[in-house]
Amino acid sequence: MIAVIGLLLGALAGIFLEPSVPTVLQPYLPIAVVAALDALFGALRAILDGTFDDRVFLVSFLSNVLVAALIVFLGDQLGVGSQLSTAVVVVLGIRIFSNAAAIRRHLFKA
């Protein structure tokens, strides 16, 4: 519940504060958001598996974001930024889908 409230509070803060993303962060924020979403779904799945651990969630969340940003940064330096971004998004998307499928199986047995 606190997590849901936190999500809503963050979204409301984003809506009302109207933050402008710093130019330095602009290439990394979308990938970081997708990575965080992946971590969130992973946490949800862990809750349903009964294996949720807050430390693991914290570490996986931060490491997901950092690794995704690092990959994009590396891709930009190598001149394959857009392709690597696409690759990261595809991989994270697949993970989100498989996590969502596991959650669905847990909750609906289908």
Binding site: I2, L7, I15, G81
Partner: protein, 258 residues
Amino acid sequence: MDVRDAPEPPRPRAGAWRRLARALAPRPTRGQLIAGVLCAILGFGLVAQVRETHADDLSSLSQDELVRLLDEVTKRTDSLEQQAVALRSQRADLVTGADSERAALEAAAKRATVQGILAGRLPAQGPGVRLVLTEPGPHLSATLLVDVLEELRNAGAEAIQIDRSRITASSYILDTADGVEIDGVALRAPYVWLVIGDPNTLVPALEMPGGALASVRGDGGGTNLETMKHVVVDAVREPPSDHYATPAPSPPADSSGD
């Protein structure tokens, strides 16, 4: 609780729902606080990114896409500039055409005016002389008047009017019992001539010894010649339309010099 969430929960499903509900139940544990903070960060970042994407399309594009976009814009600018050049030259052509057409129109109007004055179709004004011929004695003959007219024409008179009759190339003067008849209009002395032309030429031509006015005076007529800065020849005459003569095609330009 699980009954409300899932109406017919088999055992395993109930376990999953219960776990979910327990996880969602607000308890101020460290894990819940961490999850809340992380979710807040996620929500903030998500909204910020969505706003950024909606606010500015260009800043979210990669370098390749920006280069391609720039290329397209440059090409589009080039083609538009070419189009502008073509349209500008077309406009210049049209303006030139309109100018020459207007010049031709002005020339035609001027010619029409000159010819209208020559043909007596238009009233005219300008410097000239006013000549009054009286006949205290015998009638002045038409021949005398024609002499005066010829003298005026020789002196470069451009528009001539006797009383209310405009004198043109086809005008005639006939003797009648008590005067003359000009173009079918009977006139009697005194004859008032209004002549447009250079007075410095007209007056000496008329007053030439043995000239037209001398002949009139010799036949007993009176003459009164005065120079005027502004003569208005306002009698007009509609030239008869030609029945037989039509304009001949103009000769080719190269044969005109031969």
